[in-house]
């Protein structure tokens, strides 16, 4: 029996589900055994895998979040591109079955799929219907624009229904990257980095600056509460505790929201937009992670990986995972199966994310991003955002600084990968 290691970053309910899926796979056949290991956050998982690779102790499969793609792609001797793996192993694999919005992010310029999509998400808006009702708002109507959101929040706070208007996870992903895409603003040059290693960031545009100004102001007014850097670990509890009425985070937060929001009803909506920005709303970009295969293992390991990936992308597994977690269905088949099962009718709002990424045909600004060292740039974004909130700098300075520091990191990456 061949045993393969899968390092992942799925904690909480998602982790439990993941283990269930793996157990299902292990039980379904007897040739291979997948051993899942939780390695902490996305960033920790990815860096642990890289360090392990250097030490020759790498796992067979590692879950890497979307923004790690640039780094992984550049490491040509280290990763085993999925399309090639499937080909080499002669696995039954159809890249066309995947949703284009998803695989676009992970394909090289020749259109080859480099990693295996598994859990793709997009940020959406959750709100507390009970609080809305208590505040005299229509509980069935999520705020669609930032102006509406601000007004709703003020009413909620004034009525005492909740202490704060909204909170959010993933500042960088939700309030900068997706904000840019949603308003069709470029995140960087070279088609957001898809065009080459020499890209530069451009997130200090007027829309982004205005939004960050607003966030800082809202924070001061109490409308917005910060949930911390990275994934924003403190955001969810504020929503669960009914402290904040609105919560923006990954569609995959759905599993946690459902598990924790026991005392109130949850509503779902798309991300708000500024109605004075032309072209908004465009479409949101995906997040979540894909599975990368690392080099340096025996062939039978790769056979196992191929077999497992095949299992993972089967409509049943994918539909189950999608429905439980809130991650997007990554194949058309899984989507169709869910529809067939009547899942979306029974769970209004569960389709929000999907609708949001497919709202419009993606532009160069909204198909995703691919920069080197972007994992580190995310830390920069968090830091600069914290500086902004603590009143140390204004929004323009913060975003300028994101651009300068980010560009320096991109240059480092470029130099190291020449």
């Amino acid at each position: 029996q061949t045993e393969i290691q899968w390092w992942h970053a799925m904690g909480g309910e998602l982790g439990a589900k993941l283990e269930e899926i793996v157990a299902g796979y292990n039980a379904s056949q007897s040739d291979y055994k997948v051993v899942p290991t939780y390695k902490g956050t996305y960033a920790e998982t990815m860096t642990a895998a890289i360090a392990a690779f250097r030490a020759g102790e790498q796992p067979d499969v590692v879950q890497v979040f979307e923004v790690g793609t640039g780094t992984m792609m550049a490491a040509q001797g280290a990763v085993y591109p999925v399309y090639k793996l499937m080909e080499d192993m002669g696995a039954d694999f159809d890249p066309k079955g995947f949703l284009p919005a998803v695989v676009g992010y992970y394909t090289d310029t020749e259109g080859n799929m480099l990693s295996m999509p598994f859990n793709s998400s997009t940020p959406i808006l959750y709100y507390n219907k009970d609080v809305f009702a208590k505040a005299g708002l229509d509980p069935e109507k999520a705020p669609a624009t930032w102006a509406e959101l601000e007004a709703d929040a003020k009413q909620i706070m004034a009525s005492g229904a909740a202490k704060c208007g909204f909170t959010t996870g993933w500042i960088s992903w939700v309030q900068l990257e997706n904000l840019s895409a949603w308003h069709n603003q470029p995140i960087g040059t070279e088609e957001n980095g898809f065009g080459g290693l020499d890209a530069e960031l451009t997130v200090n545009g007027p829309v982004q600056v205005k939004h960050w100004e607003n966030l800082a102001r809202w924070q001061k007014e109490g409308i917005f509460q910060y949930g911390g850097p990275g994934g924003g670990a403190d955001a969810a509890p504020k929503f669960y505790a009914q402290e904040c009425a609105i919560y923006m985070n990954s569609s995959a937060s759905r599993a946690g929201v459902i598990a924790n929001a026991k005392d109130f009803t949850v509503g779902y909506g798309m991300l708000p937009y500024y109605d004075d920005v032309e072209g908004a709303p465009q479409n949101s970009i995906i997040g979540g992670a894909t599975l990368w295969v690392l080099q340096g293992k025996e062939n039978d390991h790769y056979k196992a990986v191929a077999d497992f990936f095949h299992y993972l992308s089967s409509p049943e597994v994918q539909a189950d995972w999608h429905q439980f977690s809130g991650y997007l269905p990554i194949t058309q088949a899984a989507y169709d199966l869910s529809k067939e099962q009547g899942y979306y009718d029974a769970n209004p709002g569960a389709e929000t994310g999907l609708k949001q990424i497919t709202l419009n045909a993606p532009t160069a600004n909204s198909k995703g991003l691919r920069f080197g060292n972007y994992v580190q740039i995310r830390d920069v974004i968090d830091e600069e955002f914290q500086r902004l909130l603590s009143g140390e700098v204004d929004a323009k300075t913060a975003l300028d600084s994101v651009v300068t520091r980010g560009n320096a990191l991109i240059r480092d990456f470029e130099a190291a990968n020449k």
């Binding site: 904690g11 998602l14 290991t37 360090a51 102790e57 995959a252």
Partner: protein, 282 residues
Amino acid sequence: MVENRRFLDILAHAVLLLGVLAVAFPVYVAFVASTHPSSDFVSGVVPLLPGSEGLATYREVLAGGGSTQMSVPIALALKNSLIMALAIALGKIAISILSAYAIVWFRFPLRQLAFWAIFITLMLPVEVRIVPTFKVVADLGLLNSYAGLSVPLIASATATFLFRQVFLTIPDELMEAARIDGAGPIRFFRDVLVPLSQTNIAALFVILFIYGWNQYLWPILITTDDSFTTVVAGIKRMADVTDGEPRWNDIMATAMLAMAPPALVVIVMQRLFVKGLVETEK
């Protein structure tokens, strides 16, 4: 006593009681938290009185059932911690007592060099040069092994230094008497030195056990296989959660389990502990 002022005595007791409270408070809160169901933390503030879920939480944490954040049962992590702490303590004592013996009772070429090679590392924690050390251990194929967990940490000079200090206080005449009594270096070491250093060894053991038990970064780095996770390293894993809420009761129960063994050692072996501490440093 010079002054017999009641006021000063009462003040002293008050200060000490305050100190005891301040020191105990975080642990008390942790204990309380470990006895409440995790749902109690979703809203509001941590309660100040113990709840009723304690036993269940501890049982669950020990067995590792249900908790995916900590995919190994804490019982296993505790075992790993114990092995690591023991290996570090015993290994360090063994190599240190030998090298200190050589440095104190022998004169040989390069003694000075050996002395500095060892003592330059006196305060050099592994964290400072973590990246290359990791690489060396990896190159040696020691990742995910008890050897990798412990051997790199037994190198520091603290214990050697302690033994050197202890040996320097042993009267010259004792060795001279032994020599006249026909004991060579090995016999002197075995018959006199080791038995004489017994309490120092025991005291050092206490300190090193705690040192080993409390390691954090090193085990996190060099174990990629969860069956080697130690409890102190593992707790971080439980606290970092994506898209969810930390299970505070589990975390605090684990924290209690992680600090209980060394704290017990300190309290039960207070005399040895204090001795070990004071001696390793001075």
